[in-house]
């Protein structure tokens, strides 16, 4: 295991309806702030950070490491948090640690030796799903119709999973062997958890950090559109 990071760390997540920030020093959580903002992360997350930093008397350059939720979740929300951190890193040279939403809701869950499946709402009747056993993936992050998620876990030998995340109950209804945990922080990603994870993870150059979208872009093609040869080359 890596030695925990002992400098000043700020964590944030804007991938769900909850805007959340947390502040760490010497490896310990100082406090966490959150607000339910729906589609307003762009205008609310930096004021939330700024106000808390003023209370702490911290300057931006004092923060050596940023921990950021990179999804999956709202595409726009994912970008709002990560773009902000990228901008901050340009100015201060801070490094960052990306943490996925699916790992955040699973962190610290009482698995009792069972696989831990993370299920978050993905809209359009789908969930973002992953399942780990002892840290290793049983189901890699994917998006799947809610009604098919239980069957996927069963096929992967994870029917007895502990299922976490806001979409857990809908899946567990079809998996009688499973258990669920959806009380905070196992419902949606929270900055306090993202920070805890980031204390132990290796930092990364900010330019290397990309969102985890999982789902491909929504592309509405015009009627009569045909893929050009360049896009179908190699298809059989």
């Amino acid at each position: 295991m890596n030695r925990p990071f002992l400098g000043r760390l700020v964590a944030l997540d804007t991938t769900s309806l909850l805007g959340t920030v947390a502040f760490f020093d010497r490896g310990a959580l100082l406090f966490e702030r959150e607000q339910l903002v729906r589609n307003a992360h762009g205008e609310s997350i930096l004021p939330l950070i700024d106000a808390a930093m003023r209370e702490l008397g911290w300057e931006p350059r004092d923060v050596e490491r940023w921990a950021v939720g990179v999804g999956p979740g709202s595409f726009t929300g994912v970008r709002i948090g990560l773009a902000l951190v990228k901008g901050i890193a340009i100015a201060t040279g801070a490094t960052a640690v990306p943490v996925t939403s699916l790992d955040a809701v699973a962190f610290g869950a009482d698995d009792q030796g069972d696989p831990v499946a993370s299920a978050l709402e993905a809209g359009k009747g789908e969930v973002y799903l992953q399942c780990r056993r002892g840290g290793a993936f049983v189901v890699e992050p994917t998006h799947v119709r809610s009604v098919d998620a239980a069957e996927l876990l069963r096929q992967c030998g994870a029917a007895s999973s502990l299922i976490v995340g806001q979409a857990a109950a809908a899946i567990a209804a079809f998996l009688p062997e499973s258990r669920i945990s959806i009380t905070p922080p196992h419902d949606v990603p929270r900055a306090s958890v993202i920070g805890e994870i980031a204390l132990l993870e290796p930092e990364r150059p900010i330019d290397d950090i990309e969102p985890m979208y999982v789902r491909p872009p929504d592309i509405t093609l015009p009627a009569g559109w045909r893929a050009p040869a360049s896009m179908t080359a190699g298809e059989k």
């Binding site: 930096l46 700024d50 595409f75 902000l84 951190v85 901008g87 100015a91 050009p228 360049s230």
Partner: protein, 352 residues
């Protein structure tokens, strides 16, 4: 005053360093054309994803090419309207992060105001170019906007729309016609190139909104005439016919744009006319505006091509003016699809 500017309103990720006198120290544009070409137009979600991928490299590149450090910058300017909201948000969040962490003031800039002031940019090699004086009349024609403005001062409150398109933007019409003719995306450069080889008199498309007195435009009907022709005859298989259609379409589109710009200057009693926006790169439009302006004893100002298409330098210059006026944004700056310039032209059909 030195401004670091960021632009991400559509499909170009841009960053620039600009002085408040219009001198461009660097202007970096990462184009997404290759990404969107297969779809024949900009896909907003793809654009947003690519902005995030490129933005921090582009910003660092702009600082490095200008030979300055972030500490040398006086303010950070960013396009926060109008545009694709998801795309704008990436630039706005990066800019907020940079400004907040570097303890620099933040300025939100209207993309259209940036275009209308791009004529004041001074790039290496064109220091001797003359600038217009206020008031001037400006035709802003791009893929997303087409309108004529009276600009009395470099301030959104002093800019008045005199007439705009009721439907498609001019650049949008070029893109759609190119698509109909199987010429790919973007349409402007390829139609410009083929039109130069064609005979514009071979097709007589009806000129949209041709009546004198109105400064409004309409391009969807022009596009529909060509769509009907393609439906009836198919995409021309011979290069000559294809070039002739491009030449005749371009003649009609650029004629109406140039004529209404000069009409506006005459109507307003203004001596200086300016071109702005991506369509201002069209060679026939530039020639027509120059010729018509001379004929009516007006002086035409045509910015270089790099200042016509989307770029961050124009955002930096417009941002410098706001910064000098103390018009700074707070950390809750929003990205929005609407311009701050008041609209006069109502979209849609019907009498006015």
């Amino acid at each position: 005053m030195l401004i670091l500017a960021i632009e991400s309103s559509c499909d170009d990720t841009g960053a620039a360093v600009v002085r408040d006198d219009g001198a461009v120290l660097s202007d970096v544009v990462q184009s997404q054309i290759a990404l969107h070409t297969p779809y024949g137009g900009v896909i907003p979600e793809l654009a947003s994803r690519d902005h995030l991928k490129n933005a921090s490299h582009v910003v660092r590149d702009a600082l490095s090419r200008a030979g300055i450090a972030l500490t040398d910058v006086d303010a950070i300017a960013v396009t926060n309207r109008p545009g694709l909201v998801g795309a704008l948000l990436v630039g706005v969040q990066i800019a907020k992060g940079v400004a907040w962490a570097a303890r620099k003031p933040l300025v939100g800039v209207d993309h259209l105001v940036g275009h209308l002031l791009a004529v004041f940019l001074r790039r290496e090699g064109d220091a001797a170019v003359e600038a217009p004086s206020f008031p001037y009349v400006c035709l802003l024609a791009s893929g997303g906007h087409t309108a004529i403005y009276r600009v009395d001062a470099p301030d959104a409150a002093q800019i008045v729309e005199l007439g705009a398109t009721r439907d498609d933007a001019a650049g949008e019409a070029f893109d759609k016609v190119a698509k109909l003719l199987g010429l790919g995306y973007p349409g402007g450069p390829v139609i410009d190139r083929l039109a130069a080889q064609g005979d514009a008199s071979k097709f007589a498309w009806k000129t949209p909104m041709a009546q004198r007195g109105s400064l409004e435009f309409s391009f969807s009907g022009l596009k529909s005439q060509i769509a009907r022709h393609v439906e009836e005859h198919g995409i021309p298989s011979d290069a000559n016919t294809l070039a002739n259609i491009c030449a005749s379409f371009q003649r009609v589109a650029t004629s109406v744009l140039a004529r209404k710009l000069i009409d506006a200057a005459v109507q307003e009693g203004v001596d200086h006319v300016v071109l702005a926006g991506g369509v201002a790169a069209n060679r026939e439009l530039r020639a027509r505006v120059t010729e018509l302006a001379e004929k009516h004893r007006k002086k035409a100002f045509l910015p270089g091509l790099a200042s016509c298409t989307d770029n961050a330098a124009m955002i930096g210059y417009a941002g410098a003016i706001r910064a000098k006026a103390g018009e700074f944004a707070s950390w809750d700056l929003v990205a929005t699809s609407a311009t701050e310039l008041a609209r006069q032209t109502r979209k849609g059909r019907g009498k006015r």
